[in-house]
Symmetry: D2
Subunit: 141 residues, 4 copies
Amino acid sequence: MKKAKTTRFGVSMDADLLKEFDQLILGKGYANRSEAFRDLVRGHMVEKAWEKASSEVVGTVTLVYNHHAHDLADKLTDIQHHHCKTIISTTHIHLDEHNCLEVLILKGKSGDVKSIAERLISTKGVKHGKLAMTSTGKELR
Amino acid sequence: MKKAKTTRFGVSMDADLLKEFDQLILGKGYANRSEAFRDLVRGHMVEKAWEKASSEVVGTVTLVYNHHAHDLADKLTDIQHHHCKTIISTTHIHLDEHNCLEVLILKGKSGDVKSIAERLISTKGVKHGKLAMTSTGKELR
Amino acid sequence: MKKAKTTRFGVSMDADLLKEFDQLILGKGYANRSEAFRDLVRGHMVEKAWEKASSEVVGTVTLVYNHHAHDLADKLTDIQHHHCKTIISTTHIHLDEHNCLEVLILKGKSGDVKSIAERLISTKGVKHGKLAMTSTGKELR
Amino acid sequence: MKKAKTTRFGVSMDADLLKEFDQLILGKGYANRSEAFRDLVRGHMVEKAWEKASSEVVGTVTLVYNHHAHDLADKLTDIQHHHCKTIISTTHIHLDEHNCLEVLILKGKSGDVKSIAERLISTKGVKHGKLAMTSTGKELR
């Protein structure tokens, strides 16, 4: 990674609009306006990266399922082993007597990460699944 | 509307990140960076306004339907007349021999606009419907 | 358009889950469950069509702007004339003394419709813009 | 949890539309149509639950950050300890020499989970953050 170089530039905006924006980001916990703008910009960059199937990305898949469902845990493990090069880690939480949460961290080409996520989420017995699309951090500063 | 007062402030950002953002917005047609940032900020404000059911907003509803569907045109007209105070105008396009497009412009409380949109979109025979949430422009500068 | 042929199939679902879903769609105005499921399916199909830049689609662009902004109305008209083959119609509403709403209906390749929408929304002085992505209705039944 | 009771009901749909939907869900890995419809329905229920700030939900927060950033790891740990009753677990991945991934699993009222997520994501030095909204699984069958 080459050394990051920070630049400073001016933005002109209506004073009232800016005031409202400042209140909104304060409520979310931002220490200053620059950080909020950087987050808006970085969010756009991550979205753009995921549009190209060959971009290297990171994603997390969250699954909720009933571990009593026939063969389900085995099936999910099978799929995961089949993609062990892309799946970095899996965390399992026993939500209650019946329900499990599994959170997988994946790193690879965005096309592959999406397809593994779809395969897991569509498995019979998985009650709910979500793919969170993020970044390797390399291109984001 | 009180007179708009423009202010100028500085944002610090990584130089490479900013370069990538500049390319992205150039591709979308933005003349300069400030306008792109203003759009990001105004987009947030409009979203926030719609979260409160009592905010005064503007929305457009786009409907695609088959005008041969039994009674459908009549039903849609009935619903629209029932809400004539909120619906400002309707534009109708004959897409082909069978398919119609209708675009309604609504102004009112966000809760009412949403509920009228849902009522129209859920009508049997409407093939596809979309609500675009925008603003009266009063709070946006 | 070839004659539509309706088919009927069974879906098995947990009784309580179905009950909750029925309440949700009733609140939105659906007359029956089949119509709600058809809308879910058609919504997916429209999304998929827009993913391919060459699909023929329909879209509506909603713009809010201040007509006092220097040259803005002229600029927007110029862009629209430049794309007159794709833009079917434009409706203009005088929201108040300052603010205008313009709703354009476009039909063409999804890549072109998106790019015209971005060009209009990014124009300096446009306070807010939204593209609603819908369908020519041909592939939807 | 009371015993789940499965019910079966009929849906009527255009034959061609259904054929296209079947192809779409096959590509995603669904073994059958009922499972795809159940996922659509459960997805709606989870969205609805998150709209009410007092619903008990589960969420995962994914953070990407540079561990060299001054004090950042300490700040993130502080925030997490402050909300230790809601945060069930944290998994940490060393993405490369500079970039870290942290995935937190939270369980609590949706308003609290959202607010903790915003607080973490807005922290200076966090490059990208995402909240994935899911469920305790109790209400989903």
